[in-house]
Symmetry: C2
Subunit: 306 residues, 2 copies
């Protein structure tokens, strides 16, 4: 198992409470699952391996095809959480050779509250919801027809535009990365430099990791929505990202991640606006931090942000 998302983590926690043994796969400094770690795990009595196709926090794209092949050779089921990757990178279940793949409609501009689970024929699945036998008996309930149709339409559009959108978004991402690194000497990037989601960039400011909350507030007030780590939890805990800790970041750096997500409607103009807003927000932060430091306060988080 290697996933940051609570949908997998909490499910594993529940399984563990029932006695199932959970093994976390190690990742390298870029967030890539280490094949040797998977091979070691496969020596024990593993029944299913789950690896995110692309990480939601650092954007790293995993070598799913290679990892799934290892699992297949050991007769172990392979699941990939492709929620972040769906509509953004090609996902061919036959090429990837995964047994199970999950998707979420709203991540590819479809309606909220609809998802899909692909499973290869012959994969033994047992339902947890019972009733009228809909969805081949695996998810009984009157189907969310409007949502399903919307998901289908969104997926079709995403597929059609995937190549050109991926190229466009990767261009915008590289532009932001270059500007951020050029403008802020203490800026650094998280995740793999090239094996990453086209519209996903994550960076931090060395020495200012504790001020991410204020930075986000300032950006929010200027109409720019970016995330600190994972946004997929209803209750933000302020805990450092587990995947960043696994990548070797200390708790401080793990808390300092700023995630920029670009999508179909993001434009060059918006990106330039974001960079402007970011510059003035960071300069204000530095001043505040310096004032705080001058005033003898040890914790910058205690300083009200003007």
């Amino acid at each position: 198992m290697r996933s940051k998302h609570a949908a997998i983590l909490k499910t594993c926690k529940f399984l563990a409470s029932g006695g199932t043994k959970i093994t976390r796969l190690p990742v390298d400094a870029d967030g890539l699952v280490r094949p040797d770690g998977l091979l070691r795990a496969l020596q024990s009595s593993v029944t299913v391996v789950s690896v995110m196709a692309a990480n939601n926090v650092v954007g790293t794209i995993q070598p799913i095809e290679e990892l799934a092949q290892f699992a297949k050779l050991h007769g172990v089921l392979f699941h990939t959480d492709a929620v972040q990757a769906g509509g953004k990178i090609p996902l061919d279940v036959n090429r990837l050779q995964v047994d199970l793949l999950s998707l979420s409609a709203h991540k590819l501009h479809g309606p909220k509250g609809v998802g899909a689970l692909y499973f290869r024929k012959g994969t033994g699945l047992a339902p947890i919801i019972f009733g009228g036998g809909q969805e081949r008996g695996l998810r009984s309930a009157t189907e969310n027809v409007a949502g399903i149709v919307g998901f289908g339409a969104a997926a079709e559009l995403a597929r059609k535009e995937l190549n050109q959108e991926a190229a466009r978004l990767a261009g915008l991402r590289e532009y932001i990365a270059t500007e951020v690194l050029r403008n802020f000497p203490n800026a650094y990037l998280y995740g793999h430099p090239t094996k990453r989601l086209p519209g996903h960039l994550s960076f931090g400011f060395r020495g200012q990791e504790r001020e991410v909350g204020k930075l986000l507030d300032a950006l929010d007030q200027a109409g720019v929505a970016v995330s600190a780590g994972s946004a997929c939890s209803a209750n933000h805990s302020g805990e450092p990202s587990g995947v960043l800790l696994a990548m070797g970041y200390d708790a401080e750096s793990a808390r300092g991640l700023i995630r920029v997500s670009l999508g179909r409607f993001s434009t060059q103009q918006e990106v330039d606006c974001f960079l402007d807003v970011l510059s003035s927000a960071v300069s204000t932060l530095s001043d505040t931090a310096r004032s705080a430091s001058l005033a003898g306060l040890t914790n910058p988080a205690e300083v009200a942000f003007a």
Copy 2:
């Protein structure tokens, strides 16, 4: 437990496979749960009682307030499946004193694929889906926002129009019942004559129970959609309704039920059209059945319907 719907039956079957003891509550000839049966069941180590607020097959409305009170006195949780009753009869959780109540949006003209579970504060519930902690941790997943809003709007409308709609639909129902009984000497009604959903009527034709399928096909071809028993199963099994067997009907009569559901958009004109179509469909059936009998065929189902 007294419910016809697979959502409850299949869940009980699953629980039973894990060792949970399931007790089916007896009903009387009108489909009403017998209070003495519930009291007997409450003597054993029951933890939760589930009774449908109104039955989907025969339309009978259960005395939920009275039954929930018995459960309460014995310190047993009481759940009611109010999917059929929602928006059609008043449902006040404080008056009914139920601990849990389930609803489905599409049954009150809301969108398909959305439901609600009311639970009284302090009712100990454990999730079966894990993730971001949405819905107070009980149903993790990005919410179906459009569906939820549509459900809310539909529920508000249903509540506003409930009294006048109930009176109007009960009037149409009584009109159909009177006409059916007057026009067909072998017609009979199922369920309680008055304690029933306003827009729900179920009837059969004595001696012609096996021809319900053909009757429904003929009605369908004439543009009238009625159901044979429960329509809430994706795979129609042709099995006789369990609740009808429990009410004392033999398998033959249990298979002969025709269910007419009237809703907000049903009109007197449509009802008259239905009665015309029904008359001609039934007369054709009788002829076919007679011809089949004359031709020496023993199974009328083998006769093609013209």
